[in-house]
Symmetry: C2
Subunit: 379 residues, 2 copies
């Protein structure tokens, strides 16, 4: 057969779940993983252990792959250009991916194409942060290193110039943003293929705890249809203008005055799309695979009125497997997704999905299961 080989750089849970979604399509999956114990490396047949920051490692890995895609956004842009120059399709390509790697580049581009963002500019030092605050509503101000942050890391909320010293210590450019007075956070997930086909998943509500995604509700409850449509169109437009190939997650603030502002972009399957594994006709992982192979995309519509995803974070005791007995017996419809990762407190080690007609019931079931797996609920 002439089935293609998809090369996945990065061995985390996104790679693991993309492999799972690729199996039914009969595609070959090749993994570049930091260690043989990484989440995806445990379940993939063709694994290369190596450092994605090393160009020759990447080049050797890419030989025999029909396309390269990613579990994370940390591959140096110049390495991606080198692979493209070697003739390997890189999806998303470096010209798109840089917008998910560098928040400064992202903000400049979104401004240029007229996408609403929080007020922002690059700041030089703590005095400049005070000046930025004075230009708007004052403190608090959000500071972000333009590269390297995720899940609340690389992000500070400061109330004065005195508190603003730390972000500058790394020597990386720092972006200042207004602290948006938001009602809630939303996410608009879209998938785009090289030939320009795109699909939009329903806009979801994303609830964070301590800067980490905790709960996703699909679709976002009570969201005004016009606002939902505006958010979907915005995400499709960003995907097109930035030349994204594959999955794009657009994290949004819904403001008190009825606007949506872009918070972050991710160009890969995203935590806010995990609900789609059990809640949509085609999952974000299946559509990401189809997009990077330039295959026609699958239907992104929901299969149930409500789907809820709750992350399972590492708790105080390491044995999550024994909790299966209670969780599965209590809820025969529960969908557990574990990543094969060692439990460390606060680390994302899995998630659960529930779906059904009654949102309160669906929420309760997901929260109970995630809490029981973590050990914060014991009955």
């Amino acid at each position: 057969m002439t089935f293609p080989v998809v090369g996945m750089v990065g061995g985390g849970q996104l790679a693991r779940m993309t492999h799972e979604a690729g199996i039914p399509l009969g595609i070959r999956f090749k993994l570049l993983s930091d260690t043989p114990q990484d989440s995806a490396a445990q379940v993939v047949g063709d694994v290369v252990v190596g450092d994605y920051r090393d160009l020759e490692t990447l080049r050797a890995f890419a030989r025999g792959c029909d396309v390269i895609t990613f579990d994370h956004e940390h591959v140096p842009t110049e390495h991606l250009r080198a692979l493209e120059a070697d003739g390997i399709p890189v999806r998303p390509g470096p010209d798109a991916l840089v917008h998910a790697q560098d928040k400064g580049v992202m903000r400049a581009k979104l401004d240029a194409i007229g996408v609403p963002c929080p007020r922002h500019r690059i700041v030089a030092d703590p005095q400049d942060v005070a000046a930025f605050a004075a230009e708007g509503e004052g403190f608090p101000v959000v500071l972000k290193t333009v590269r390297g942050g995720y899940d609340g890391k690389g992000v500070w909320v400061v109330d004065s110039a005195e508190e603003a010293a730390e972000p500058f210590r790394a020597g990386v450019p720092v972006l200042a943003e207004e602290k948006v007075d938001f009602v809630r956070e939303l996410a608009a997930n879209v998938v785009r293929s090289p030939h320009g086909q795109a699909v939009a998943y329903p806009v979801v509500e994303s609830r964070q705890v301590n800067g980490v995604c905790d709960t996703v509700i699909a679709p976002a409850p009570g969201l005004d249809e016009t606002l939902a449509l505006r958010a979907e169109e915005m995400a499709l437009n960003i995907a097109k203008e930035l030349g994204v190939v594959g999955h794009l997650a657009v994290e949004l603030f819904q403001t008190r005055d009825g606007r949506v502002l872009v918070n972050e972009l991710a160009m890969r399957p995203h935590n806010s799309g995990h609900w789609s594994q059990d809640g949509a006709i085609t999952s974000q992982f299946a559509n990401h695979v189809r997009a990077v192979l330039d295959l026609p995309l699958g239907d992104p519509r929901p299969r149930a009125p409500w789907t809820v995803m709750v992350n399972v974070l590492g708790g105080d005791y390491p044995d999550m497997y024994s909790a299966y007995l209670h969780c599965m017996a209590r809820d025969p419809q529960l969908k557990i997704h574990m990543y094969g990762k060692d439990v460390k407190p606060g680390r994302k080690v899995g998630h659960v999905n529930t779906y059904g007609d009654d949102l309160d019931d669906v929420l309760e079931r997901a929260r109970h299961a995630a809490g029981y797996l973590r050990g914060t609920i014991t009955e």
Copy 2:
């Protein structure tokens, strides 16, 4: 973490799809495969290449597995007993599995527990076949070698004693059965766990072409509720009486006079249950994994009014991947499941699932996709 290792003997598509279903549960999957190119060996990380007919190979494979299960029924019964004596849980165990390995043992047991079967007995030679015919409605008579047959192989339909020579040539006992005057074939799929929990999938209609499963419709259209319930209860009763652990497929004849008779048993995920991957809340593969690990079973109920599975057989040209473009663009809801096998004419190389509210539409979509992939439909 203390997640268990499931050892799967056999590298076919059933092992491949069981691995896929086990990934979200975070269980470790270890495969004993005939070759590194086998369907499952392509997508599993931990693969041992070896011969399942060799006891020492099995023993070495079983070390480090928490439980052993199977992709096929061909492991010698005495080897399974040896593994059990070594302290390895074998699920289903040899006392159950022998009923799926030996059609003579199966018929004797079903008679003993009062399950309706076609009229049958072991026959000694062609003259004895003629005697068997004379004891009932005469020829035609169905002859089966008691071991080693599948997909129509090892089965003969004969019209006279003269035609009955071949089945006896292998030197294996031969079972004679009346040729049942059936309206259609059904299958009752159930899953049972070691602690005795069991779930029943809706009874499906299974349509064969040249002795090979072609189409499965879930649930069986127009099936009388009483008859459906009787078939489910019969399958649950067989699972209990035979001590089955894991998935049990009971293939049935629906007779013209309104009875159901058992045709065959399979103790593993089965072609008649593939629809459940996209059509049921919990797939047969996920429930098989849960059963062999003695975890509570998942909900087997359908997610859509109708789900149709059509097998993709190898056709005349080897490139099925290029057919994806047409199939996926035509039907964004289509679910393709390919096995990574080389195309040989008539060989099962994949299947498609479709689901929806309108059976005619669901059937048409599945048939079109399977036909297009095979190459018998070109528009």
